[in-house]
């Protein structure tokens, strides 16, 4: 029975669009998100936050709370584990300040009371004495010799000696001889680009409900992209064991990478431990903007040389990313993704990780890639204008294909960049005449995919239906696609599968739902678990028939005898076997636990029409088309949804979203009023085209699709805006004031 390499070539369920299993709960208000849990005796926690960008904490006086009957617990840094190092220390330092407040909004202390109003009142009675220190929030400023030091000794070994302590990471990749390549060029263009930090902007605030007893046993309910990671981090920060803290992932109201980080769960546990009551913490929107991670802001320099025919001869880029008050900005990803769509003989990318007095950056959909694409694809666009070349043709001339050596090292397996470009070329959008005043922009984008630790369990019920337990929170409709996979493999109806995100006590460790890995890795695990179950079904039937395992086979939902020698047995359906499994050997469960390899990278090409009001700098997006390689779309509606969602977030980032700090380093727009994410009336219809170039590393050909869709929009829109306004925009967001300013400067 060779199940390992079985691949369903023609699909019955995969590729269809059934309604999602969690849909009815979500349209009726019954789905339970992070803040929707309540327990008897539950208290409400609230967190006091620094009003300063950088300050020494001289003292925290909580004496006013000592006789306050409404206050059930108070915690500060002293209530957490003190012997942490590395990233564990970073996480603790971020969720509860130690000696210094490192950014506006940094947590200082927390209280628990019977009501949230009481808790908020209690916070006002805590007196904190600060010594305000000089601060820095700009990446270039933070690298300068005289910049305030965020923290000595944070630099990784990759950083050359003698650099400022704020410079904490260095990356270099590439190949060939860049200088020689530039000599071959007919035209060399180089430019500086800047992008501002953008927040993931999930609508659901971080929320948790936690219980911890004095013996260190804990229960956590929270909205997270990775509950196993929450258990691990909480155990470390509280000196407990990962297995003693059971975490259940609630429905998650958007994450986009931002809910891969841990912020409030350890605080709620610490409060609960002191109060011996469950404690709920829900962040306010203000806290989310100030104290959870947006992505990095950047300063980039890109230089490209090109022949008159459009062939790139050399490319070089420097990507400086600030990651807030901690190491970890995705500068290596910027450097690696920047030139990934192009087959280059000579390429060199450098990344710098820089600390600032800002919140610790968190992953945001393809971290690092969109900004790098903005810089590189803007220059490619400029070449097209100067050399009068078609933007799609230039990209096709240079596009990577199977076997190309990537700019970051490995050779590409089968990939679909050319297919997305060809589809763009023949798309009605690209052929449509461009109206007066409108600019059309094109950009490609690239993102990785990976496997990661994955464990699933597929249990057969007595009635022949199946329960799938996965350990990856469903952030994009994965329970629907996993149910489709089980249905496909077992030949049972989609409705007869129930997929559940199991808690941390139920399954082995599962890596966070990030890196577009769930459909690939959990999908692959689900296929394997179903195959494991089929194998067990065959064994069971063989046993019932008194045959060897080799004498039976699986076909279309039935176990059948392999040939005349096996005897004349009626094929047994899953339901037949399930009905009697209690008597024939017990429960039948399919498993999979591993870290799957074989993830396939993904490329996209976007086309956008934008119109700039030259008197006010206002940009309207007139038309938008996303074309992306999905490998194989399990549920096309949710793939389209990922394409559209990424494009919409990219539009916001390109045009209006930004972190605005004042001179004191205080965030000025910590709310949805002035952190301007796109509203329904801002956007046109977003057309999508799914390209399916199968990933050879997955039985169905699946590639991760969630993140690539945010890689091209910044550049595509910048190229469209630049065409419409007649100027090259080198800074994001391209908000109306910045566009007018650039136009004015251009006019002298």
């Amino acid at each position: 029975m060779a199940f390992d390499n079985v691949s369903a070539k023609s699909f019955k369920v995969v590729g269809t669009r059934p309604e999602r299993p969690d849909g009815i709960e979500k349209v009726t208000g019954q789905a339970r998100f992070g803040a929707d849990a309540y327990l008897p005796g539950m208290l409400h926690g609230a967190i006091l936050r620094s009003p300063h960008a950088h300050a020494k904490i001289l003292s925290i006086d909580i004496s006013a709370l000592e006789n306050d009957k409404s206050v059930k617990a108070v915690v500060t840094r002293n209530d957490f584990e003190c012997n942490l190092t590395g990233e564990d220390w970073n996480i603790l330092e971020n969720i509860m300040a130690g000696e210094k407040a490192l950014y506006d909004g940094h947590a200082i202390a927390a209280v628990a009371c019977s009501s949230l109003l009481e808790a908020k009142d209690a916070l006002k009675k805590i007196i904190v004495q600060y010594e305000i220190l000089p601060h820095v929030t700009d990446v270039e400023e933070a690298m300068k010799e005289n910049a305030p030091v965020i923290r000595e000794g944070s630099a990784r070994s990759s950083v050359p000696k003698g650099m400022h302590p704020n410079i904490v990471g260095y990356h270099e990749s590439g190949h060939g001889d860049v200088e020689a390549g530039f000599k071959e060029a007919d035209l060399i263009l180089e430019e500086n680009f800047r992008t501002e930090a953008a927040h993931q902007g999930y609508i659901e605030p971080h929320a948790c409900l936690a219980t911890m007893m004095p013996d260190g046993k804990g229960e956590v309910w929270c909205c997270t992209q990775g509950h196993f990671n929450v258990a691990k981090v909480c155990a470390k920060l509280l000196g407990s064991d990962a297995s003693q803290i059971r975490v259940t992932a609630s429905e998650i109201g958007g994450g986009f990478g931002g809910k891969t980080a841990v912020f409030i769960e350890p605080v709620a546990l610490a409060l609960s431990k002191k109060a011996t009551h469950p404690v709920k913490i829900v962040m306010s929107r203000n806290e989310i903007f100030r104290a959870t991670g947006p992505t990095s802001s950047t300063s980039m320099h890109v230089k490209i040389g090109m022949k008159k025919n459009g062939k790139i001869t050399a490319a070089e880029g420097t990507f400086k990313l600030q990651g807030g008050a901690f190491p970890g900005s995705p500068m290596a990803e910027s450097a690696m993704c920047a030139f990934a769509p192009y087959e280059l003989d000579n390429v060199r990318s450098v990344g710098w990780d820089v600390m600032c007095n800002r919140p610790k950056q968190a992953a945001y959909r393809a971290p690092g890639s969109p900004m790098a694409a903005f810089a590189v694809e803007s220059i490619i666009d400029e070449f097209c204008k100067r050399l009068k070349l078609d933007p799609i043709e230039v990209r096709l001339i240079n596009a990577v294909t199977e076997g190309s050596k990537s700019s970051y090292g490995p050779k590409f397996q089968r990939i679909g960049l050319v297919e997305t470009l060809e589809a763009a070329k023949s798309h009605p959008h690209y052929a449509a005449p461009i109206e007066r005043g409108v600019g059309r922009g094109i950009s490609c984008g690239f993102w990785f995919n990976f496997g990661g630790e994955t464990c699933v369990s597929l249990a057969l019920s007595e009635d022949g239906t199946a329960s799938l337990s996965v350990g990856t929170p469903d952030i994009g409709g994965s329970r629907a696609s996993m149910s489709q996979i089980v249905s496909e493999e077992l030949n049972i109806p989609y409705e007869k599968v129930r997929a559940t995100v199991a808690d941390t006590a139920t399954l082995g460790y599962n890596e966070i739902s990030h890196g577009s890995r769930v459909t690939f890795a959990t999908g692959l695990a689900t296929i394997k678990a179903a195959q494991d179950m089929k194998k067990k079904l065959c064994l069971r039937a063989a046993k019932v028939w008194g045959l060897d395992e080799e004498a039976v086979y699986w076909e279309e939902g039935y176990v059948k005898p392999a040939g005349p020698n096996a005897g004349d047995h009626e094929p047994l359906s899953i339901a037949d076997i399930a009905k009697t499994m209690g008597r024939t050997g017990g429960p039948i469960v399919g498993h999979y636990e591993a870290s799957p390899e074989g993830a396939g990278v993904s490329f996209a090409t976007h086309i956008v029409d934008a119109k700039v009001d030259k008197e006010t700098g206002f940009t309207s997006i007139e038309r938008y088309t996303v074309i992306q390689d999905a490998g194989k779309a399990i549920h096309p509606s949710y793939v389209e949804g990922q394409f559209q969602g990424g494009a919409a977030q990219g539009i916001g980032w390109a045009l209006n979203e930004e972190y605005i700090y004042d001179k004191k380093g205080i965030l000025q727009n910590a709310g949805f009023l002035d952190y301007r994410i796109p509203v329904a009336s801002d956007l046109p219809k977003i057309d999508t085209e799914i390209i399916e170039v199968p990933n050879p590393g997955h039985p169905y050909g699946v590639r991760g699709v969630g993140e690539t869709s945010i890689c091209p929009p910044l550049a595509a829109i910048a190229n469209a805006v630049s065409s419409s306004a007649g100027i090259r925009m080198k800074q994001l967001p391209m908000s109306p004031p910045k566009i007018l300013e650039a136009m004015d400067d251009n006019n002298g």
């Binding site: 203000n286 008197e615 006010t616 700098g617 206002f618 309207s620 045009l655 209006n656 605005i660 000025q668 727009n669 949805f672 009023l673 002035d674 301007r676 796109p678 509203v679 009336s681 801002d682 908000s735 109306p736 004031p737 007018l740 300013e741």
Partner: protein, 286 residues
């Protein structure tokens, strides 16, 4: 926090004037609740005035459109007679927040909040609107422009509050317009606003008021610019001069919503566009 919900205006005056602590009037609540939530205000008493029938009035009385303090924005923008008479005021009111906000927010609340960027105010000022104020000493009427002291502040004594807005009936061959600039299509605070009210005679402008919002601590009368367009038909050169003049008249600050330079530029553009629109409307009704 004490919560009061009087049912008559006399009760309201009594409660409000006798309460000595910090207090807030709750009409639509769309500003007050945000301020409560974000700790910008911590009043000891909130007085909900929505139960007072007379404050729901929205009708013509003695030559004025009378709009009660409890009338929601969506009630105003649904009134076809009012919209056709004062399209600019209705535009301003209609721009205050989302559908949800429109169903709660009031024009009196927008005025009382006295934000320099209030969308409701410039067109009211251009229309020479007044307010009716009540307090211990009885009631008085004051024009909207002189009522505003500065950001968040009105010239009201501690015991006083506004009950109605009074908008004179529009003159013949006249029309108004309000335009604002925001970076998105909805949900933002005005970066610049401009209200225009004008009359035409023989296709020329016979009177005009141009009021700029969000470019000073309170709305600004662009009188020089209004004078410039008098007797004109908004020819190209007049419009260009007007635009430059309004850029000069604006006295904005730089903040998260826009720089001084940007706000000046956009003030000129909006004044031009609002004037052209109001002029076209006035010609239509002439």
């Amino acid at each position: 926090m004490k919560y009061e919900a009087p049912e008559t205006i006399d009760q309201a005056i009594d409660i409000y004037s006798k309460f000595n602590g910090s207090k807030k009037i709750l009409a639509g609540g769309t500003d007050v609740l945000v301020q409560l939530r974000t700790d910008i205000v911590r009043p000891e008493m909130v007085m909900n005035i929505k139960k007072i029938n007379s404050l729901h009035e929205f009708c013509i009385v003695d030559g004025y459109w009378k709009i009660g303090a409890a009338v929601s924005a969506s009630k105003i923008t649904k009134n076809t007679a009012f919209i056709s008479e004062w399209p600019g005021i209705a535009e301003g009111v209609g721009l205050i927040g989302s559908t949800q906000i429109q169903n709660r927010a009031t024009l009196v609340g927008n005025l009382s909040n006295a934000s320099p960027a209030a969308d409701g105010i410039p067109a009211l000022v251009a229309a020479n609107a007044k307010v009716e104020i009540v307090g211990q000493q009885g009631s008085r009427v004051k024009d909207v422009y002189s009522l505003i002291e500065g950001p968040g502040k009105l010239h009201l004594s501690k015991d006083e509050f506004i009950t109605h807005i009074l908008i004179p009936l529009q003159r013949d061959r006249s029309a108004d317009c309000y335009l604002r600039f925001i970076p998105r299509t909805e949900m933002d605070i005005a970066v610049v606003g401009c209200g225009v009210n004008l009359s035409v005679k023989n296709q020329s402008i016979s009177s005009a008021k141009i009021v700029l919002g969000a470019v000073g601590p309170k709305v600004i009368f662009a009188d020089e610019a209004a004078e410039l367009v008098l007797n004109s038909r908004l020819d190209k050169d007049v419009i260009l001069k007007l635009q430059r003049m309004c850029e000069e008249i604006a006295t904005p600050i730089s903040d998260k919503r826009g720089s001084i330079r940007f706000r000046r530029q956009v003030a000129g553009v909006l004044a031009k566009r609002a004037l052209q629109k109001a002029y076209a409307r006035a010609l239509e009704v002439s």
